[in-house]
């Protein structure tokens, strides 16, 4: 289970932008969201950047809601040929 932090260790920039969010699992999306909140909270980014971050945050929230809101349970069955 990879707990991928979506931020770049060098630049500290939030990854991935819009296109990556759609593929994120709940944990990654939530981690990215927390990171955005922490950044804005730290107050080190300007207004324009904070609005951009906010927008990304909203997208992450939508992603989380989409995952949680899923009503259909996906069940598959795997046939394994036993060696014994």
């Amino acid at each position: 289970m990879s707990k991928a932090r979506p931020s770049d260790p060098q630049t500290g920039a939030i990854h991935p932008p819009a296109e990556g969010i759609g593929q994120m699992n709940f944990e990654s999306a939530m981690a990215a969201l927390e990171e955005i909140v922490e950044r804005i909270e730290a107050g080190t980014i300007g207004l324009e950047e904070s609005v951009k971050q906010y927008e990304a945050g909203v997208k992450l929230v939508e992603r989380c809601k989409l995952i949680l809101g899923q009503a259909e349970q996906r069940i598959e069955e795997l046939k394994i040929k036993s060696e014994s």
Binding site: G57, V61, Q73, S82
Partner: protein, 490 residues
């Protein structure tokens, strides 16, 4: 043929020839009664013996076999006695019993009617279980430090169990109720019997090796309750090793709450029942939804706070003298042009107001949690805006200054100095008032006249009314009323 194995003279047939009255054949019941009588008379006292419980069935009364390496004895323990035993015998358990041997005619079976039972030591299965426990504990397989934490939100969970078992249904129902977003991959495996252990071990290894490609974040191994023999597959060394080698965390829920199996002891997480395991593996959707909402609100209020901070900065810029309604000293001194300054500042205030209401609108949308992307893009930084506003105001002030210069020129054009240039003069009384009527200057009084260049002081000789001049003045006044308005210019 040689010698016959019996004496033909002593056969029943030979005897029958001698006996004339032959008894009627016995009934099966009579035979059973005779067997019963023989057993009862031959074994009159209750027997005390030790054996391993096997095939235990609890049907109000207990039915089971007691066995050792060479023999099996059928036993029955009636409910009244069973209540006094104080424990429920397990298959494989070694027990000491006391009981009377009886022939049960309707079943054609010799049974021991148990009168008392007590446990003596452990059964062989139990002994094997304890031995394996000791071995694996020594290897550190039960160590808490070795256990991995479960993912808080697994994408997919592999469930190894019997396809037809009730355990699977419990798992599916619970996981659907808790969070349908977690996908399930079912692997059917025997969970009882000789094939169970190899099948379960193989399934665990199969899923573990392909966890990444299958997108599995955890494995659940489960089955419902059963006897210790039924659960044998989960007390198996190979299954235990498959579990600890797994690349993803393994949850085990085997049998009832009271059962403990090796599989559960080595698993990363042990759950009492399949339902509990399913709950442990699926996040609570409602709780997560609340978490997402609260994070969203934190984000919105933080962003809003940032916006308010910048708004305050803008307000402080606008309250500087340049933009304030009071205007500069230059503008204040220019009578009649005050309105221009007011207009200018009103314009600035309106601009600010417009920008502010835009920020408010944006902030409201942000708080609503669905800001249009276009808004965010169009939002100019407030500080950048303030700079632009300052530039615009400076430009307007410059043009106002030009206008003011023009007005000043116009003012001096209509001022009295130009009139004096044209040969007129202004005469003041002794008290310094402008003389408009000859009667106001008494003969002998000193008057002062101001010319274009210099002043004259004269003494009044005679004052006369001059109707001709007055009519001229009136006529001039009609044509050009300015001389009358002249003094108001000062």
């Amino acid at each position: 043929m040689g010698r016959l194995p019996f004496d033909p003279q002593k056969t029943a047939a030979a005897r029958a020839e001698r006996v004339t009255i032959v008894a009627a054949p016995l009934t099966v019941s009579q035979v059973a009664a005779k067997i019963g009588a023989v057993i009862t008379s031959g074994l009159p006292e209750p027997l005390r013996f030790v054996g391993e419980v096997s095939g235990f069935r609890d049907r109000t009364h207990w039915y089971f076999d007691l066995k050792d390496a060479g023999a099996v004895v059928n036993c029955v323990c009636f409910q009244s006695t069973a209540r006094k035993v104080g424990f429920s015998p397990l298959n494989g358990q070694q027990v000491l019993v006391k009981g009377r041997v009886e022939y049960y005619a309707p079943g054609g079976k010799v049974s021991v009617l148990i009168e008392s039972m007590e446990s003596v030591g452990a059964g062989s299965l139990d002994i094997a279980f304890r031995a394996l426990c000791d071995e694996l504990r020594a290897l550190g397989w039960f160590a808490q430090e070795r256990k991995r934490s479960l993912p808080s939100f697994p994408r997919r969970v592999g469930v190894i169990t019997s396809r037809t078992g009730a355990a699977l249904q419990d798992v599916l129902v619970t996981m659907k109720r808790r969070c349908p977003a977690v996908e399930i991959l079912i692997v059917d495996a025997k969970v009882q019997g000789a094939l169970a252990a190899p099948e379960v071990a193989h399934a665990i290894r199969y899923l573990s090796e392909r966890a990444t490609t299958l997108g599995l974040d955890a494995i659940l191994v489960t089955r419902g309750g059963g006897s210790m023999e039924d659960l044998g597959a989960f007390n198996n060394r190979d299954v235990a090793s498959a579990i600890i080698e797994s690349t993803v965390p393994v949850v085990a829920a085997i049998g009832h709450e009271t059962d403990t199996t090796i599989a559960e002891l080595v698993a990363d997480e042990r759950c009492a029942t399949p339902t509990q395991a399913a709950m442990r593996l699926t996040p609570d959707r409602e709780a997560l939804m609340r978490q997402v909402h609260s994070t969203m609100q934190r984000l919105a209020s933080l962003t809003l706070r940032g916006l308010r901070r910048d708004e305050l900065r803008l307000q402080s810029i606008l309250s500087r003298p340049l933009f304030s309604g009071r205007g500069t000293g230059f503008l204040r001194s220019a009578q009649g042009l005050n309105s221009l300054s007011q207009r200018l500042s009103a314009c600035g205030a309106m601009l600010a107001l417009r920008r502010r209401s835009r920020i408010d609108r944006l902030a409201a949308r942000l708080q609503a949690g669905r800001p249009a992307a276009v808004y965010a893009h169009r939002l100019t930084s407030v500080s950048v805006f303030a700079q632009r506003l300052r530039a615009a105001m400076t430009l307007r002030l410059a043009s106002a200054a030009l206008q003011l210069e023009g007005h000043t020129r116009q003012l001096s054009a209509v001022g009295p100095m130009q009139v004096l240039d044209r040969g007129y003069s202004i005469t003041f009384s002794t008290t310094g008032e402008v003389l408009r009527n000859a009667r106001d200057a008494a003969p002998g009084s000193v008057i002062r006249s101001r010319l274009a260049d210099g002043e004259l002081e004269s003494t009044v000789g005679r004052a006369t009314e001059a109707p001709a001049i007055q009519s001229t003045r009136l006529a001039r006044g009609k044509r050009k009323p300015r001389p009358q308005d002249g003094p108001t210019l000062f």
